[in-house]
């Protein structure tokens, strides 16, 4: 039963070996403005974009956008807005009432407005989902064109948990009406520095 039976059956039933295709990146090469494409795609997927000239302005910008947030978790040294501190030891259940999380994005992907977030950047895996609103700080130099380049960028990472986030959580499960804010964050702002 189980393992041995499945592997035996696959071996008996599989076709002769078909070679694995090599991915040629040339057909995907495009001459586009990566920054502008990224920004327009973040908006397309329901996110907000803010561009800052100085990293030091982050806090005033965030306060302007989320004036009612009281329980705030900041995972970046550049922000002093944090009112709740967390570590790897924090139980995810303690984060149920968090209003806002500010996290560092590793890089963004122009073709779909997604940002890669590593486990190291959020301390607790559930944070970017359970927080009512989410702010991602991203250096505008850290952008790539498409997902093939994205996977090159994370090929050497520590493999624990990580994710691409593209916009706030959403659903269209009731008569195909798009509603922003399903089970994860109700809004997403990408601040480009």
């Amino acid at each position: 039963m189980g393992r041995a039976a499945i592997l035996k059956s696959v071996k008996e039933n599989k076709p002769t070996l078909v070679p694995l295709p090599k991915i040629d990146l040339n057909p995907f090469q495009e001459n586009v403005d990566i920054l502008e494409t990224f920004k327009s795609n973040v908006k397309l997927v329901g996110g907000n974009i803010q561009e800052l000239s100085q990293l030091s302005n982050i806090d005033s910008e965030v306060e302007k956008m989320y004036p009612n947030a009281s329980e705030i978790i900041s995972c970046i040294p550049e922000s002093n807005l944090g009112t709740v501190s967390i570590s790897e030891k924090t139980s995810p259940h303690e984060l149920e009432t968090v209003d806002l999380a500010i996290v560092k994005g590793e890089f963004g992907v122009a073709e779909n407005g997604a940002v890669w977030i590593s486990e190291e950047a959020v301390s607790t895996r559930v944070l970017p989902f359970i927080s009512n609103d989410l702010v991602i700080i991203l250096n505008k130099e850290d952008l790539c064109l498409h997902m093939h380049q994205a996977y090159k960028l994370i090929s050497e990472r520590k493999r624990n948990f990580g994710l691409f986030i593209s916009g706030p959580s959403k659903t269209a499960d009731i008569e195909q009406c798009l509603v922003i804010g399903a089970q994860g964050a109700m809004s997403l702002t990408v601040i480009l520095t």
Binding site: L7, V10, N13, I23, V126, M147, D173, I174, E175, Q183
Partner: protein, 456 residues
């Protein structure tokens, strides 16, 4: 009941069918817009198809490689030959942890195995956390679409369901209000859960990790809050290398809903400290499908639902008319492999227009496989007398030009002169719910001959 009989029931509500048809076609159009924006889209599809063909031809090796790498990262790996074994394994993991409350994100595999009813019988509460799946779970119905599980429900119906089960106030089906109420209800379930079950979109042999894609964030809310995460996958979810995700994630959401990527694409490679991660690998008829040369490539499927959204039959018959876990064109080539007799009407639920094959991101020749299943069905399953005799007569008529011409003449004569009750009777399916075209005096052959004579 056959597909056409169930489709007749769905078609009783004409307004709803029209809405269903248009809503899905709109998703198809969004898919087109998204696909056309990608440079090299057709090459992407070819790559995806090629990678999947390689996977099937080397599946045993990849499965072993996946297991080896997953174990290294402390992910526990289980193997199940059948739905029963799968359910028993999941239950044992839950029982060992004394888990009584479970949240589950979308997984067509667990639908296929009827995991929910199995666990409920053992006294375990299992909550579907995708909004569409929660809606159909409350309605005690199966999903009617693999990406849009509640597409057959109106917002007013959802409103009533939520009033009854979640105690909401009547809102005339306000989607924002209802979604927000569901959010509150599900948050409570996430916080209370003893274990979380998710599906798997892609499992990577090279790393032993897996990827789960959602828009709502429900898979992650479950998996990161509960102390135990069980991910269930069919054997065909394996891809060789992580770089192949670049190909599949570009195709999946665009083909499914026209989004450039799902909101969340989560990469699980090891459990968080203090928690457990399990993967259950399931066969349940897949290796049998692998043995069928003509139908093998149906296992390429990445469950995007594009073939359903584009299918003129699916759009007008609804997912429930297929009476299978996976409805639509892809379901109609997967299901006969499991039970040819039960699903014998499904390969005929198609116009063979080929639109499904054209939009399939992994290039499954769906309409050709539908045609091939028809050959097997007519050989193995008794066909209705009328269908058999009509096809036999048609065969004779079509093989004799004179007879064909006579048949055409009489049909035109009848259409023109026979009384309405005869033409639009039950014997003439073509007159059902539509006006037949005005009859010309000539057939094409006669018209062509006259034309040639007049113009040399």
């Amino acid at each position: 009941m056959s597909h056409s009989e169930k489709a007749t029931i769905f078609n009783k509500n004409e307004a709803k069918v029209n809405w269903h048809n248009k809503a899905l076609w709109f998703v198809r159009e969004k898919r087109d817009t998204a696909a056309h924006k990608v440079k090299g889209w057709e090459y992407l599809r070819e790559l995806a198809s090629g990678i999947k063909a390689n996977v099937l031809s080397n599946l045993d090796e990849y499965l072993v490689e996946f297991e080896k790498n997953a174990l290294k990262k402390n992910i526990k790996v289980h193997w199940a030959s059948s739905a029963e074994e799968h359910n028993a394994i999941v239950h044992k993991i839950l029982a060992d942890k004394k888990a009584k409350k479970v949240v589950k994100s979308k997984s067509m595999l667990t639908e296929e195995c009827h995991l929910n009813s199995y666990l409920e019988e053992k006294g375990i509460e299992i909550i579907d956390t995708d909004l569409g799946e929660r809606i159909v779970q409350l309605a005690k119905e199966p999903p009617s679409h693999i990406v849009l599980p509640a597409i057959h429900k109106t917002k007013e119906e959802v409103d009533e369901l939520f009033q009854e089960h979640l105690g909401t106030t009547p809102s005339n089906g306000n989607p924002e209000y209802l979604t927000n109420e569901a959010r509150k209800h599900l948050r409570q379930k996430f916080i209370e859960a003893d274990a979380a079950i998710t599906g798997v979109n892609f499992a990577i042999a090279e790393t032993g990790g897996f990827v789960v894609c959602t828009n709502e964030g429900n898979a992650d809310m479950g998996a990161h809050l509960a102390p135990v995460h069980i991910a269930c996958m069919g054997i065909e979810k394996i891809i060789p290398k992580e770089e192949h995700l670049g190909v599949f994630l570009r195709l999946l959401a665009r083909s499914a809903t026209g989004q450039p990527i799902t909101t969340y694409s989560s990469h699980f490679n090891t459990a968080a400290p203090g928690t457990e991660m399990h993967v259950v690998i399931v066969d349940n008829g897949r290796t049998e499908q692998l043995s069928r040369e003509d139908f093998r490539s149906s296992l390429h499927c990445i469950r995007c639902g594009a073939c359903m959204n584009t299918c003129p039959i699916y759009r007008r018959s609804g997912g429930h008319s297929y009476d299978t876990t996976i409805p639509g064109p892809i379901g109609s080539i997967l299901s006969p492999g499991k039970d040819l007799k039960k699903h014998s009407s499904l390969p005929f639920a198609s116009t063979l227009c080929g639109s499904c094959s054209n939009v399939c991101p992994v290039k499954i020749n769906i309409h050709e496989q539908l045609y091939k299943w028809r050959q097997l069905v007519t050989k193995d399953v008794k066909q209705p007398f009328i269908k058999k005799s009509i096809l036999k007569i048609a065969g004779i008529v079509l093989s004799k030009p004179k007879l064909f011409s006579l048949a055409g003449k009489s049909a035109r004569f009848m259409l023109k002169y026979a009384p309405r009750f005869m033409v639009y009777s039950n014997l003439n399916a073509w007159g059902n719910a539509r006006e037949l075209p005005e009859v010309k005096n000539q057939n094409f052959d006669e018209w062509y001959k006259v034309k040639r004579k007049n113009h040399g």
